[in-house]
């Protein structure tokens, strides 16, 4: 199976090259390496987005778009582009890792001095955010990598049963 081996090498090379240039962010290469019931992960196991050629986005990217534009955009601006008082997360996620992202959202962050009064609250007790951490992360990850433009994704994959079950058990809302 020499041919197959060469193919594999080529794929690895291609993804390394891609990952080393435009397609890398705070968590590394965002390319899809595995999927589980419509939820996608990169080679390191971090959640990632999947955008089809016809513009269809995976459910979690779409869900993240909605959650972001409910609970985050009032400070961080539309499409993750920032505001006059909170950073543009589409930029931040170019360097912020998945783990750091979760840490900041969960525990908050303060940057208060003479010139700054930036305070990110802790969302640890907010199920509207905590139950959708991965959704928001993959949406912003897609924005950070210019995989999707701003605005509402016009088409998305169906909501997976797993997402429905996780939502109900996490939020307690039926």
């Amino acid at each position: 199976m020499n041919v197959g081996r060469w193919k594999l090498v080529f794929v690895i090379l291609a993804s390394v090259l891609a990952g080393g240039t435009a397609c890398a962010d705070g968590s590394g290469d965002p390319a899809v390496a595995s999927s589980d019931n419509g939820k996608y992960a990169d080679k390191n196991g971090n959640p990632t987005y999947k955008i089809s050629a016809d513009g269809t986005v995976d459910w979690y990217t779409f869900s993240g778009f909605r959650r972001y534009h409910s609970d985050c955009h009032v400070c961080h601006g539309p499409n993750g582009e920032g505001s006059s008082y909170a950073p543009a997360l589409a930029n931040s996620l170019k360097t912020l890792s998945y783990v750091d992202f979760n840490d900041v959202v969960t525990n908050g962050r303060k940057n208060v001095d003479a010139a700054n009064d930036k305070v990110m609250p802790s969302f640890a007790s907010n199920v509207n955010v905590m139950c959708y951490l991965d959704d928001i992360y993959v949406y912003l990850r897609a924005r950070a990598n210019d995989a999707i433009p701003g605005g509402r994704p016009p088409k998305h994959e169906d909501k997976p049963e797993a997402a429905k079950e996780a939502e109900t058990s996490c939020t307690g809302i039926k």
């Binding site: 609970d71 601006g77 907010n126």
Partner: protein, 626 residues
């Protein structure tokens, strides 16, 4: 010099009178009648933002120059404006809510500075920037409503704290952004937090010692709202028992919203205070069945007791975040040959309302931007079952379209045809001058859970200019008697600065790019503009000192305008990008053009960030000395 001495003496005289226990309101009323001073945020109790000064007029305003400037030292959005009492100007800032007293006799030298210590954890519960809409003056004191809801009274001469009281709990999402309002011996404050499930209220404190006199909630049992089932009327009829709680499911009213952060007004003859209540919580209408009273309402409360004389709900069961908090402007005009005591209100929902302020009778309700589409009209037929209610269009009803459904093309957007930026009224022209937003939205509600102190929103919103338009704001003149636009000037961005009308026939307002503009009150013709250091969301004021008329405004971009516009409302480009870059030309042509057809030049939507940056500065204008 003589003039100055006389003015100083008269002011000190009044202060002395107050000091001996005379009714502070009388002194304040007298001060407010002196056009040389600007002793309340809105210029007068009626909220007209009109000055009798006429040294600067339509003929000479083109010669206006910057007289002096002052940096506030704070970067965030600067709403409200300075006061001038005697020879002192009082300037406030957003969080940390610094207050400066500046000596007008000494080139604005700082007489005192007050900076409260507040827990910065209040910052993230302020939904739309850490704005503050200014201080109030009365009884020799400056009143400041801090972000953490503390109401503090400072000695106007020294800045020393006289008393302070905590009005709410920041830990529950309650914050202070509105100016305090002093009427007679009381100082009133409202609360912000409609996006945090806060049940809104108004508190009235005694100006002498900060003792709570009454508090009236926006929702709840009659004992909380201070509504009387028999004596309180709505559209001419008694409201009946439990008029609030009966319009909510279960105890949802406890987290029902109805924040109260707008510009209040007061009629001393009727002894009534007027203000509006904001959106019900959450933004997902499906989750809170019923009319959700008394969110989205115009309130008339007795100043002394808080008892509600009349109330009118403009947007029952809100589905769009059309907060009803905007200012109530009180005028006396003649309609159909009859002199009437009127209240005019430009609501977020895009309708300009004129009511009889003694009775609450609805006289006029017309759209003040032609693109408003969520309702065809307000039913004015007194015999109709839906009298006084907006007739909602199903296509734009987020309740009708339901949870997880994206309702498109709703005009106006959630920030309203007009937000808090106050309008002005000139008795000379009998016209209202209204800074407006010209923005539409998509709105998708979905289920959310409530956690105290956490955002409770429940809708995804995307905002963009109306189809075919490149301007996102208008500055209009409005006839409140007939409900008609008299003239309208386009603004590239939302007009988010409060207006000032003067006896000089000039109307002033600020723009998000940072221009202070002067226009002819009769025609709207632009007479003067000057670009201040940052975008203007503050309100223009005027005063006279040393025989010279000055016009002043705070610049410092931010507020909701700062989040909505700083990054650009890029819907047309976004749509084009989605249909171009992502689909790589694979969509059928019809679908491809669906969102972009009829939209204006792409360049017209460039973000505000290309025009201005942060920074609080006071800019004071005057005519050059001859």
């Amino acid at each position: 010099m003589n003039r100055f001495l006389v003015l100083t003496t008269s002011v000190f005289g009044l202060l002395a009178v107050q000091g001996f226990g005379a009714r502070a309101d009388d002194a304040l009323e007298q001060l407010a009648k002196d056009p040389k001073q600007w002793v309340m945020q809105q210029g007068d109790d009626a909220n007209t933002r009109f000055s009798k000064l006429s040294q600067i007029n339509a003929a000479n305003v083109k010669k206006l120059q910057v007289a002096w400037t002052f940096s506030t030292g704070v970067l965030r959005g600067h709403e409200g404006g300075p006061l001038v009492v005697g020879d002192t100007m009082y300037v406030h800032t957003p969080f940390p809510n610094t207050v400066y007293a500046l000596d007008l006799n000494n080139d604005g030298k700082i007489i005192w500075k007050y900076e409260p210590r507040q827990d910065p954890n209040v910052i993230p519960i302020m939904c739309c920037d850490t704005v503050n809409r200014g201080v109030a003056y009365a009884d020799g004191k400056i009143f400041l409503h801090q972000a953490d809801t503390t109401l503090v009274a400072l000695d106007a001469k020294t800045g020393a704290k006289v008393w302070s009281v905590m009005d709410g709990e920041a830990g529950k999402g309650q914050s202070g952004t509105d100016a305090p309002f002093v009427y007679k011996d009381k100082v009133l404050v409202g609360v912000s937090g409609g996006e945090f499930g806060v049940r809104g209220w108004v508190s009235a404190y005694n100006i002498k010692d900060g003792k709570l006199v009454w508090r009236g909630f926006s929702e709840g049992p009659d004992s909380d709202t201070l509504i009387d089932p028999v004596k309180t009327t709505s559209l001419g009829k008694p409201v009946g028992p439990d008029s609030s709680t009966s319009t909510w499911q279960g105890d949802q009213w406890k987290i029902g919203g109805g924040a109260t952060w707008g510009w209040y007004s007061y009629d001393p003859q009727l002894n009534l205070v007027y203000y509006g209540s904001g959106n019900p919580s959450t933004w997902n209408p499906v989750q809170r069945p019923g009319d959700n009273r008394w969110s989205m309402s115009i309130w008339a409360r007795d100043l002394d007791t808080g008892a509600v004389k009349w109330i009118y709900q403009m947007t029952p069961h809100d589905e769009w975040d059309f907060d009803g908090v905007n200012e109530m402007i009180l005028t006396d005009q003649t309609i159909g040959g009859t002199p009437r005591k009127l209240l005019t209100h430009f609501d977020r929902n895009g309708f300009g309302y004129t009511l009889d302020r003694a009775t609450g009778e609805l006289l006029v309700a017309e759209k003040f931007d032609p693109v408003v589409n969520w309702a065809t009209k307000v039913d004015m037929d007194k015999s109709s079952k839906t009298y006084g209610r907006p007739l909602v269009v199903d296509a734009y009803s987020t309740q009708h379209n339901g949870e997880d459904s994206n309702s498109k093309g709703i005009c106006p957007a959630a920030l309203g045809t007009k937000d808090e930026q106050p309008a002005a009224y000139s008795p000379d022209t009998q016209l209202f001058y209204v800074p407006t937003n010209h923005v539409c939205m998509d709105y998708e509600p979905y289920k959310v859970a409530y956690t105290a102190g956490q955002a409770y929103v429940g809708a995804a919103v995307a905002m963009y200019p109306p189809k075919g338009d490149t301007n996102m704001g208008n500055f209009i003149a409005w006839d409140g008697k007939t409900g008609k636009i008299v003239w309208s000037n386009k603004e590239q961005f939302s007009a988010w600065g409060g207006a000032l009308a003067t006896a000089g026939g000039v109307v002033f307002y600020g723009t998000l790019e940072g221009y202070l503009k002067a226009v002819d009150a009769k025609t709207g013709k632009e007479l003067y503009k000057f670009k201040t250091p940052s975008g203007i969301i503050g309100n223009v004021m005027t005063y006279e000192h040393g025989g010279k008329q000055y016009v002043a405004v705070l610049s410092g971009v931010g507020g909701w305008a700062g989040i909505g516009l700083a990054a650009g409302l890029l819907q047309p480009e976004n749509a084009a990008a989605w249909h171009g870059a992502v689909d790589q030309g694979k969509l059928p042509p019809k679908e491809k053009t669906v969102d972009t057809a009829g939209l204006g030049a792409v360049g017209g939507y460039a973000g505000l960030a290309a025009y201005t940056s942060l920074g609080g500065t006071l800019t004071v204008f005057a005519l050059p000395s001859e």
